[in-house]
Amino acid sequence: MTAPAVRARRRRWARTARWSGWLWVLPALLMYAVFVLRPLALTFQYSLYHWNGIGVARWAGLSNYVTVFTDRDLLKIIGNAFILIIFFSFIPVGLGLLVATLVRRITTGVFGTTVRTILFLPQVIPLVAAGIAWSWLLSSNGLVNQLLRGIGLGGLTRAWLGEFDTALPAVGVIGAWVLLGLCTILLVTGMSKIDPALYEAARLDGAGPVREFLAVTLPSLRQEIGVCLTVTVIAALASFDIVYIATGGGPGLQTTVPGLEIYRLAFAQRQVGLASALGVVLMALVLLCVLPIQRLTREDKG
């Protein structure tokens, strides 16, 4: 065989070898295609039909989407998810910043580790358990009301998860409780990576703790804050477990969130098309919120 022929053959062999690399990707891709991509495509398809899950599906065009964006109940439900962002995201991130600063500045050794471990606990138990624990805490004869009575504020006691004005914030508090630990630890980790020289420079410039925080800590933590916001915003928009357990969506629609409504529409009311349209909208909302956060907080990473 001539030299070029050998080379061509070797190249061909290398090419097939490279293609055979797909065998490594295939099992994962297959599971992903069957249990995510196909369902994803079906969600889009279902969303264009009226279907009760059993009988014949009727073409609906975009009318399910029109319903999602015009039905007052559904709009309220989507709004609830956005209100939850305040509790699931802003509070854990804000409070997390404070706690992380304190943990970093004050605590060394056992105290610091213990604080971090305990704050992290809610992150490892099932959300359902968090829901049950807090339902008990916030119930009429639960600890919160007991404390209020104890300090002479008995007039404020109520069934926190059962009343119109307090139900949604009460659900939000549960989410904040769950997510605070994760945010704190992420931020502590981020802070430990900051160059101490920056703090020294700030101190030489005569910066107090607040200035130091604003000028050094906060900008250095951009990426970590971005991660915290991403994780918690998704947790808020796609919340399900806590709400299902703690309130079931009530009273009225006060605490119903899109995830719960999809479940109810699809499996209780048999409105598969509408449930799917809401699913697509939820997916879009998550992307709409998360992509800008990623852009803003990651752009200088290079």
Partner: protein, 274 residues
């Protein structure tokens, strides 16, 4: 650091208060779980005669041994397979750099922020058509698929950073791709694989939505799904509900306390990458 004593003190007090708030739900549940059954417990009152037997009752009523077995079976079905195929795919995409791999990777990325609720309806009908409703497979198979975006992303990130020279050296020694994978790459990837295993274990154990939609029998669900059913059944018996919930969340708590460092590290890396 030169902080004033007062600053130190207020800071510490604040942290202690926060730790107490974090622990309160657990303590309050424990105090309710120890009250005599049939009474209406109050928020936090240590009973004069703690009824530890309530835990035994809850263990029996909740059918705990069956639940534990079920959750372990589901974890055993999901985690090894998911980790294995994700590692393989990460190797293919990150190290072998298969032609068109970029496209495949983007396809996986598409699922990274996907809320499970958005696809649960078609998954239900699909699982029904496979004839798998009310079996553990109904949870196991979809979960493997749903974990793939994150798991592949995770493992690829590891393999991208392994220096190519290592593989070249192994090739010179005459190993084929299969041997390269098992003898060189997998041992090197052990930390990444361990973190992924911990994360997937936790997410599977705590998975609720799939469990309640796809499986009616609580004894065939995950721990979280079983807990949901338990609440539905005993929601009015506060004492038993608290005892049962504590029992059901104990396994994760124990595993967490033992593997604390690894857990926290895994979850941190997990969110940093995701």
């Amino acid at each position: 650091m030169n902080l004033s004593r007062r600053e130190q003190l207020t800071g510490r007090l604040f942290l202690i208060a926060l730790v107490l708030v974090t622990l309160l739900p657990f303590v309050s549940m424990l105090s309710a779980a120890l009250q005599p059954r049939g009474t209406v417990p109050t928020g936090l009152a240590w009973p004069s005669d703690p009824q530890w037997g309530n835990f035994v009752d809850a263990f029996d009523v909740a059918n705990m041994s069956a639940l534990l077995r079920s959750s372990l079976l589901i974890v055993a079905g999901v985690v090894p397979v998911a980790v294995l195929i994700a590692t393989m795919a990460g190797f293919g995409l990150g190290h072998l750099r298969v032609p068109g791999g970029r496209f495949a990777f983007l396809l996986f990325l598409l699922g990274l922020t996907l809320p499970f609720e958005a696809v649960i309806t078609p998954i239900y009908y699909q699982v029904r058509d496979f004839g798998l409703l009310n079996t553990r497979w109904a949870i196991i198979l979809p979960l493997i698929g749903l974990y793939m975006p994150f798991a592949v992303f995770w493992m690829r990130a590891h393999f991208v950073n392994v220096p190519q020279e290592l593989a070249d050296a192994a090739r010179v020694d005459g190993s084929n791709t299969w041997q390269l994978f098992w003898r060189v790459q997998v041992p090197l990837a052990r930390p990444a694989i361990a973190s992924l295993t911990i994360l997937l274990f936790l997410w599977t154990w705590n998975q609720f939505l799939l469990a309640i939609v796809l499986v009616d029998d609580p004894a065939k669900r995950t721990m979280a799904g079983a807990l949901g059913a338990f609440q539905g059944q005993w929601g009015t018996d506060q004492v038993l509900l608290c005892a049962g919930s504590l029992l059901i969340l104990t396994p994760t708590l124990i595993v967490f306390l033992i593997f604390q460092r690894q857990f926290i590290k895994a979850l941190l890396q997990g969110s940093l990458k995701g």
